[in-house]
């Protein structure tokens, strides 16, 4: 019995120290799932790039339920993973309680900027600036002067997207109509393409001919229906132009992949604090490739690039939804 005990003790110590010595990074995907062709997939892309370049490995988990958030965080921290990269605003609460228990572990929180902990690298993206640019493009591409926005779960972050988009649309065409819909109020709204499709059809029947989807997996349904009905759509987070070549006007890029890649590259020496990734840092932008080259004319490109520069220089100020939880250009 004592022999057994000491053997097991030794094994446990070995396992623990092995975990600590490896210190491989970990990545926790949000409920949308690793292959949402959007937000989480961008993170996966960044992690893959890190793994290919360094030959390292990383641990990962796709959350299936709210209750797993804290569990997954603690498991990775216990196993010695460092840094632990988390995706999405909903990790803020579990992070704030877990991070303090593991002061030697570095955490990365994407889309969280308001926590007060010394060992969290918090990265916020200026989604409103990127959305502003694609909003301009939408207004220029629209023939009916009506454009649409379909959000996933109704949270301030998604309103932030929609608000920037509407400001971009109005900057080009003050008379344009922006129709905005949210898919739902529960996390299921990130994964309901059927509802996304119906919302798209509803917006099309109201005259929209360019629709911007900021809805995770639901957006797949939006882009599909837009392509079926022969109107333009705008993808989000990852470059989604390739999903329906010639039918996706552009994608609002949110370089989650860069953020994840850099965090993993820095490893344990990760700098913590709050970081903003806007147009100037190339954290957000719009996608241009072979699939949408025919849709984006020179005039459009020139206008958007000029606006981009003006935003960086501070000549154009894109109002953030977070500033006072309301939007000057769009009523939700």
């Amino acid at each position: 019995m004592t022999l057994m005990k000491s053997l097991m003790g030794a094994a446990a110590t070995l396992a623990l120290s092995a975990g600590a010595a490896l210190a491989e990074p970990a990545l926790i995907f949000d409920l949308g799932g690793k292959f949402d062709k959007s937000f989480n997939e961008a993170a996966f892309g960044g992690a893959q790039r890190w793994a290919e370049e360094t030959g390292g490995t990383f641990r990962e988990i796709e959350l299936q339920a709210e209750a797993q958030r804290e569990q997954a965080l603690r498991r990775f921290a216990e196993a010695g993973a460092n840094p632990v990269v988390t995706m999405g605003f909903a990790m803020a609460d579990p992070l704030s309680s877990v991070a303090a228990d593991y002061p030697d572990t570095k955490f990365v929180a994407i889309d969280v900027t308001w926590l007060d902990a010394p060992n969290i690298r918090q990265i916020g993206f200026a989604e409103h600036e990127g959305s502003y640019l694609v909003g301009m493009m939408a207004a220029m591409a629209s023939k009916s002067d009506t454009v649409g926005f379909i959000g996933g779960m109704d949270i301030p972050l998604i309103r932030h997207f929609g608000c920037g988009y509407a400001q971009g649309v109005k900057a080009v065409n003050p008379d344009a109509t922006v129709i905005a819909n949210m898919t739902g109020t529960t996390p299921a709204a990130w994964n309901d393409p059927v509802k996304g499709s119906e919302l798209t059809k509803s917006q099309i029947s109201q005259g929209a001919d360019v629709i911007y989807a900021a809805a995770g997996g639901t957006g797949v349904g939006v882009l599909q229906t837009a392509a079926d009905e022969n109107i333009l759509s705008i993808g989000v987070d990852s470059n989604q132009n390739h999903l329906h070549p010639g039918k996706v006007l552009t994608s609002m890029l949110k370089r989650v992949d860069v953020a994840v890649y850099e965090a993993m590259k820095a490893g344990e020496d990760l700098e913590t604090g709050v970081f903003a990734m806007g147009l100037a840092e190339e954290g957000v932008g719009y996608a241009l490739d072979d699939n949408n080259a025919a849709l984006v004319n020179d005039e459009m490109k020139a206008a958007v690039d000029a606006a981009r520069q003006k935003i960086i220089d501070g000549e154009i100020e894109v109002v953030s939804y977070y500033a006072d939880n309301s939007c000057p250009a769009l009523k939700f």
């Binding site: 799932g33 819909n181 393409p193 059927v194 029947s205 005259g207 797949v220 349904g221 599909q224 109107i231």
Partner: protein
């Protein structure tokens, strides 16, 4: 709200009510024969996955439909064996089927397509596309005149609007679902098989005394249930959508059960209930928050209404919902 908007909401209603209607009729056959079926959701999900998977790998949507129906029939057979042959608890068997389907679909999809539990997007040919009826306004007219369909629709007269928007342009499965309603009514109330099926749900001992196989009838009912759930799942994945994503049924099997209770286990009323629930969803999608004078009705209320209505019915405020008498009880020849 103008006339065209109303028509568009009704059009959306038809699309959203179709999977509910098919699943509701499936439940009707099963429950009228005395086999409660909580597993509608699971069967639909399984069918949605296999129809999308086969349609994606063969490029033929009809093979997809066949595979979807086949997989749903397999689960129905499982339910039948558990609850008829082995006289197990029907509710537990149904719940097990739901869990099985939710897990298996994602697992197989991940192993097969390596896309995180989804199937690749289906291209045309791998999907049921809308049938444009003759003289209806469709994409061809839009190309011919150079105007978008929504503009043409606005300019058309009301009859043409109803015809083009509401009647034409659905996939073949939608028409099939609505034809299934009179068919169900006819089978249940005008055929010998239907009479026996209803009898076996009320008083199986009497049916047995008459020399008709209770087990055979119940298996037939469960098989019809599997068939209809299979079509419902295939409709979700290959007609409404272009591919499978995890948990894509999103509770529709349970709403169908609610509709079945709401309709008090009768086919025409089932259609009414499904259309009503579909309408609620369509209205919730079209008008997010509804302003009724000073009160704003939030969109969540609309989403919850099907369940609230069912509870109201069950509580006996609007008549009584009495399930088939022998429902939920395995038949034992001699006690």
């Amino acid at each position: 709200m103008d006339f065209l908007t109303l028509i568009q909401v009704l059009d959306s209603t038809v699309r959203l009510a179709t999977p509910l209607l098919l699943a509701c009729l499936a439940g009707l056959f099963s429950e009228r024969a005395g086999i409660f079926d909580i597993g509608l959701e699971g069967k639909m999900l399984m069918a949605a996955f296999f129809s999308a998977a086969i349609a994606a790998s063969t490029g033929n949507v009809w093979l997809g439909l066949l595979a979807g129906v086949g997989s749903s029939l397999m689960l129905a057979a499982l339910h039948g064996v558990a609850s008829i042959t082995f006289r197990g608890n029907q509710l537990i068997s149904g719940v097990a089927i739901n869990f099985l389907a939710a897990g298996l679909t994602v697992l197989i999809a991940q192993d097969w397509f390596k896309q995180g539990g989804r199937t690749p997007s289906l291209l045309s040919g791998g999907r049921f596309e809308g049938l444009e009826w003759p003289f209806a306004i469709g994409p061809q007219d839009a190309e011919a005149t150079g105007q978008p369909v929504s503009q043409l629709m606005k300019a058309a007269n009301p009859v043409q609007q109803v015809y083009s928007e509401l009647i034409s342009g659905h996939s073949v499965l939608v028409y099939l679902a609505f034809l299934a309603v009179p068919a169900t009514w006819w089978i249940l109330y005008r055929t010998r098989f239907g009479l026996r099926l209803r009898a076996v749900g009320e008083n199986p001992a009497a049916v047995d005394t008459a020399g008709v196989s209770v087990v055979g009838l119940r298996f037939a009912a469960v098989a019809i249930c599997g068939l209809l759930c299979g079509i419902a799942g295939a409709y979700l994945a290959t007609a409404l959508q272009a591919g499978f994503v995890k948990d894509m049924t999103a509770g529709r099997g349970f709403i169908a059960l609610a509709a079945l209770i709401f309709a008090k286990w009768r086919p025409w009323q089932a259609m009414g209930a499904c259309l009503l629930f579909g309408l609620l969803q369509a209205v919730a999608l079209r008008f997010q928050n509804i302003e009724l004078g000073p009160i704003v009705v939030p969109v969540q209320v609309m989403d919850a209404l099907p369940y609230i209505l069912t509870v109201v019915i069950l509580a006996g405020f609007v008549g009584k919902a009495i399930p088939p008498r022998a429902g939920g009880e395995p038949y034992v020849k001699e006690r």
